[in-house]
């Protein structure tokens, strides 16, 4: 057809576009042929199960028109990406070269979902990285050019980032803010902007699954973003402990000490796990002193506030008081909805407010289970090929909602509260009115009112046949006291969390 249009001015303008389209179609066919060739060869070379598991699920896309033959592959997830890159990519490159008689440009990246166009995929990958100026530390895109061997020279910034052990998904941008974490977030941002000179250490505490880890990773990512040369390390206490043990076994304490004292920012997670690990505490004590003296930043998380940590040396506890101690509280309903919306955004799904409210209303105590529920709804909708709707969400979460709606018994509340305050369950029913017994009893009444649908007279009945006005009085007392008495407020938080599970 091209030859027929020669010499016609009107056609001359059309031709390049037409040509490109044709070229694209040809490229596409060639790519398909190339991939079929690779598939058939790999199928005969690899054990069946390996081929079926790792290779068959890769998607292929025709690369843009270019001089060099190219193959773009997409892996369904990060794990497959890594797995294929390490084990099969080189071979695919060789097969490509064999097919074309020349090296091919081979690219393997992460598919977001099966249906997304490539441009969208790239956009998602970019926003998920902590910063646009530093190279994406997460191996979201792996390129292998067997001819040029580019991939053998690791990017330096990327390598440095690897060493921080930070999770690039946890940033201030992806953190949802609300009353529950406002203060902690402000402090964290302050520290991220002026590491070592604002609050040192920054001690963040709060219940399980409220986002402490997210917040401290966000500090690390932010510091790295501003100063890619900062030596940052996120470490869970259990891993720090393992490091100490290893240093001990390999007699490499000098190296261990040098490393931890060389840091500009040490983030140490779940300090409550230091419990009775004396040698580890000792090491940490010295590292702490060295770092703070050198005005290097330390960030600590814990499930309770410093004075309540069990099995921790006093000299450490007192040092934790040097900086700033901030609490993260359980998120309120609006914040839980916002968290769900944010997670949905990351998963690239549309989540109606009705669905977000359904999940948020039923899962109150921690963010992790909120996320688990959302994952379940998304998986359910995908599996059944349906849009996410209230109906779909209810079906997907049927077991979860049922398990949750099983009523808390008043006996369970009484036992939990009695255990917590180390009093007898019998005291919940007794006539004793001393403060040490009466206060826990009031707390239990308040919890019974908040967490069960029981009427006040029924609650009074369950507490040794008390009048409903006694229950009412107890509830008012606790509500008022919570505003004034931090310890009591803390107790109520903990108990609520324990009971709601």
């Amino acid at each position: 057809m091209c030859s027929r249009t020669s010499g016609q001015p009107s056609d001359a303008g059309v031709r390049p576009c037409f040509f490109l389209q044709t070229q694209h179609a040809i490229n596409s066919i060639v790519t398909q042929q190339l991939w079929s060739f690779c598939l058939s060869r790999l199928e005969s070379e690899l054990p069946h199960q390996q081929f079926a598991t790792w290779i068959k699920g890769l998607q292929v896309e025709c690369a843009e028109a270019s001089d060099q033959p190219a193959l773009r592959l997409f892996a369904p997830n990060r794990f497959v990406l890594q797995w294929v890159r390490e084990r099969y990519l080189r071979r695919i490159g060789e097969l490509g070269e064999e097919f074309h008689g020349a090296p091919i440009a081979l690219e393997l990246s992460l598919a977001d979902t099966a249906t997304k166009p490539a441009a969208k995929r790239d956009a998602v990958a970019d926003t998920a990285a902590p910063t646009a100026t530093t190279p994406a530390p997460e191996a979201r895109r792996a390129t292998a050019r067997p001819a040029a061997r580019n991939e053998d020279i690791p990017n330096q910034a990327e390598a440095l980032y690897e060493k921080t052990r930070l999770n690039p998904d946890f940033t201030f941008e992806t953190l949802v803010t609300g009353r529950a974490n406002d203060l902690a977030r402000a402090a964290a941002m302050q520290v991220a902007q002026n590491p070592g000179t604002s609050y040192n250490p920054l001690f963040i505490y709060g219940g399980v699954g409220l986002g402490k880890t997210h917040l401290v990773h966000a500090i690390g990512n932010s510091v790295f973003q501003h100063n890619p040369r900062a030596v940052i390390r996120y470490v869970h206490v259990e891993d720090y402990y393992a490091d100490v043990v290893r240093a001990y076994q390999q007699k490499s304490f000098d190296q261990f000490k040098r490393y931890y004292r060389s840091l500009d920012l040490l983030i140490i997670d779940d300090i409550q796990f230091f419990n009775n690990k004396n040698r580890t505490q000792e090491e940490f004590f010295h590292a702490f002193n060295a770092l703070t003296e050198a005005r290097k930043q330390i960030v600590i998380t814990c499930d309770t506030y410093p004075k309540d940590i069990q099995g921790l040396e006093d000299r450490l506890i007192s040092r934790f008081d040097w900086g700033l101690t901030v609490q993260i509280e359980p998120p309120e309903l609006e914040m839980r909805v916002a968290i769900l919306q944010k997670k949905a955004e990351v998963l690239d799904v549309t989540l109606g407010d009705d669905v977000a409210f359904l999940i948020a209303k039923n899962l109150r105590s921690n963010v992790r289970e909120l996320e688990g529920a959302l994952n379940k709804v998304v998986a359910y909708a995908r599996f059944h090929g349906r849009e996410i709707s209230l109906e779909v969400a209810k079906e997907a979460l049927k077991d979860l909602l049922n398990a949750h709606n099983r009523q808390l018994s008043i006996e369970h509340i009484q036992k939990t509260v009695a255990d917590y305050y180390k009093i007898k369950i019998a005291d919940m029913h007794s006539k004793k009115r001393t403060r040490v017994i009466a206060r826990p009893r009031q707390v239990a009444m308040w919890l019974a009112k908040e967490l069960t649908p029981m009427s006040l007279p029924a609650i009074g009945d369950a507490f040794g046949g008390r009048d409903h006005t006694t229950v009412l009085h107890a509830c008012r007392t606790i509500t008022e006291l919570r505003l004034a008495d931090n310890q009591l407020n803390h107790d109520v938080h903990v108990l609520t969390q324990v009971l709601r599970g």
Binding site: P47, Q49, Q50, R78, G372, G501
Partner: protein
């Protein structure tokens, strides 16, 4: 119901293909995805609902595909448990995790992202009702959680009839109903009974009928 045509004798090693789906298609799909590292999965349901079969099947599939895979019973797991990178780890009956084992599993969760671990867990009860460390329990709750539904009697009888047919045995619906009412109703037991009936029918040259079954039961067939 397509799966019914496959060999589901109890001595066949657990695989995805010989799992009787019933209402459990979605968890199977999630496990297939977990084998290639999609995300942690937690299965819960009563004994005989197929939890262990599925966990072992996933482990077998992963091994066959070259991925390191490890199946541990919760009570065999201790504080020293540190899986190698990229491992698919299945832990069954996690209610039975000891204090140290719980921390080991907690650590595995924390290291999972960095080390490419995928965790498959199973228990009789839902995560929310497990009496485990709160920090571990919530991590489990963050996984994809599925309740496994035991097969209903209709599916069981269908399976039995199909299996009998494949052995060239003709058994009446009354025999199947009798088995489901009087014997153990989990699938492995039912298949054992079917085997016994098969043998007895050959030996005594009698068709499988209710009287034969009653006879067998009286002579001590343990069903």
């Amino acid at each position: 119901m397509r799966q019914l045509l496959l060999d589901i004798r109890p001595d066949a090693p657990p695989a995805f293909d010989n799992f009787i789906l019933g209402e459990n298609a979605a968890p199977l799909e999630a496990l297939r995805a977990a084998v290639i590292g999609a995300g942690h999965v937690m299965l819960w349901g009563p004994r005989g609902s197929g939890r262990s079969h599925l966990l072992r099947a996933a482990i077998n599939e992963a091994s066959a595909a070259g991925r390191p895979a490890l199946h541990v019973e919760a009570d065999k797991l201790d504080g020293q448990f540190v899986p190698a990178p990229s491992t698919l780890v299945a832990v069954d009956d996690i209610e039975g995790l000891g204090a140290d084992a719980q921390i080991a599993l907690f650590n595995a969760f924390n290291r999972a992202r960095e080390q490419g671990l995928t965790l498959l867990l199973a228990a009789e009860r839902a995560p929310r009702e497990l009496e485990l460390r709160e920090d571990l329990r919530t991590r489990i709750g963050q996984s994809l959680v599925f309740e496994l539904k035991p097969l209903d009697d209709q599916t069981r009888s269908h399976i039995l009839l199909t299996l009998a047919q494949r052995r060239g045995l003709s058994i009446g619906d009354d025999v199947v109903q009798f088995l489901l009412r009087h014997g153990r109703r989990d699938l492995p037991s039912l298949i054992t009974t079917l085997d016994a009936l098969d043998r007895a029918s050959l030996e005594r040259k009698r068709p499988v009928t209710l009287p034969l079954l009653r006879d067998l039961m009286q002579t001590g067939l343990d069903i």
